[in-house]
Amino acid sequence: MNMTLLRTSEAFNMDKTVVSQLSKEKVYETSQLNLWYGEKHALKNIELDIHQNEVTAIIGPSGCGKSTYLKTLNRMVELTPDVRTSGEIKYRNRNILDKSYKVEELRTQVGMVFQKPNPFPKSIYENVAYGPKIHGIRNKKVLDEVVEKSLRGAAIWDEVKDRLHDNAYGLSGGQQQRLCIARCLAIEPDVILMDEPTSALDPISTLKVEELVQQLKEHYSIIIVTHNMQQAARISDRTAFFLNGEVIEYNNTNTIFSRPSDQRTEDYISGRFG
């Protein structure tokens, strides 16, 4: 069904907006999600679907819950003490908030790239091989191939191929972040979560990471939290606007940025607050 629709869309050369309105397969389906940090109600009745092979941007002012939502998608939020949730998040039709869903299992499918580049104090090779190794891959040849493929995938292979066994801390900030993306690709995930991945980078490194995200969406579904609205507009297919723990508006990126339906969205993207 989906395939037919997609082929039709290509045949008629429809514009991007229409294509993404056609129902691509859903990776995540969030319904009635509520989350509390102690007494603080951080996420309120979130309804949000994430689609396959798209870049979904989450924007909103500081403290609006966008990072919290992202971290709920791989249950990283549980590392914070005193967190309660209700509602459900279905990943590939299975509720991940169910206690029987093991986080380790979820996180082999859902990789994460963090705000600050956080390579391990190990060699470049060891950083990328870390994921496969903890999942029990021991074969040296397989590991070598995974490392090369992942580093190529993160567009950093040419810069590091001659010094794979040097310490990752010797790389620049932008290179470190792409290494972290490579490390994430090495577990061959289905979804990649990115929590403001360029906020600590200079403009050129930011551009490289943005280009990379565009390439990666061919094979992965990407959800990116960003403070930078131009970035959201440049790289995402859909955008969700969060405010005070609620989803105010969720639509195609073009629509959100050209004719938002909610006044608060318009105020935010035109820089009137936040």
Partner: protein
């Protein structure tokens, strides 16, 4: 209109600079004082003890005649003590620290336990001696053995090791743990592959300093009843033995003048042992740090 009167600034300037210079001098003197005392101590001991420090000194057992007195039993005894204390204290201490920092829920009970472990680190060593006497020597009937003394010493240094390891573990950045968890690593994999390698220099430094304390400590062993005069070597952990500080204490309490010099030679041996242990700590620390 300017709020700051520049003439006041100019007037205050010299006194600020003088005060800075005086304080720098005071802090320098404070540092020198410690070094000076150490220097005098070392000089005295060297001058007094170096004459007795020969091969025979290491070959002979304790004796009533100073010229025949040797340190063999005490030196070997101290090494035996280490063989018991090191694994027991390290395993228990590291295990406790990992549990408290990584696994335990952060609630008032955990804080209470942490606080009390820090308090234990400040309990006088003689109290640990009494504890060892009650539990290991009497209740478990281990008598005055290497094992009883070793376990007592382990209890003594355990809090120090736990606190040092906790601090080292806590100083590993949260981001590194998150990176590991984010790839589906279990807690244990994260601890073994990320947390411990980053924390090991701190853990080792703290632990070896704690073990040095165990080598130099006397009071708990006096309470446990370890003999001061012994002319044989322990064959296993259930034999009785003596250690360097006990032997030195014994020599200093002898009436003959010559035994003071024998004691000084013993102190030299103890000092070298401690310096050796600390340099192992430094060596391991540098080796691990180079890898990163």
């Amino acid at each position: 209109m300017k709020l700051i009167d520049k003439t006041i600034v100019a007037k205050k300037m010299p006194i600020r600079l003088v005060r800075n210079t005086i304080l720098k001098g005071l802090f320098f003197l404070a540092t020198t004082f410690g070094l000076l005392v150490l220097g005098i101590l070392l000089y005295r001991i060297f001058a007094q003890g170096i004459g007795y420090l020969d091969w025979d000194f290491f070959q002979n057992f304790a004796s009533r005649r100073p010229e025949e007195a040797g340190i063999k039993a005490a030196l070997i005894g101290s090494i035996w003590l280490m063989i018991v204390v090191a694994p027991v204290a390290l395993l228990l201490g590291l295990g406790t620290a990992i549990y408290l920092e990584e696994y335990a829920k952060k609630n008032w009970f955990t804080s209470f336990i942490k606080l009390n472990i820090s308090n234990l680190a400040g309990v006088p060593s003689i109290i640990f001696g009494l504890l060892g006497l009650t539990i290991f020597v009497r209740a478990l009937a281990l008598d005055r053995s290497v094992l009883a003394a070793g376990l007592t010493m382990s209890l003594l240094v355990l809090p120090v090791i736990i606190v040092a390891a906790q601090e080292a573990i806590r100083s590993v950045p949260r981001e590194l743990r998150e990176a590991s968890y984010g790839m589906g690593a279990t807690k244990w994999q994260t601890i073994v592959r990320v947390v411990l390698p980053a924390a090991i220099p701190g853990i080792l430094t703290g632990s070896i300093l704690a073990l040095s304390r165990a080598v130099g400590e006397t009071a708990p062993l006096v309470v446990v009843g370890i003999p001061m005069f012994i002319a044989f070597l322990p064959k296993n952990v259930f034999d009785t033995f003596t250690v360097l500080p006990m032997q030195i204490y014994n020599w200093t309490s002898r009436p003959q003048e010559e035994f003071q010099s024998v004691a000084a030679a013993g102190i030299l041996v103890l000092l070298f042992l401690l310096i050796f242990m600390n340099s192992i700590a430094v060596f391991i620390r540098n080796k691990f740090q180079k890898r990163y």
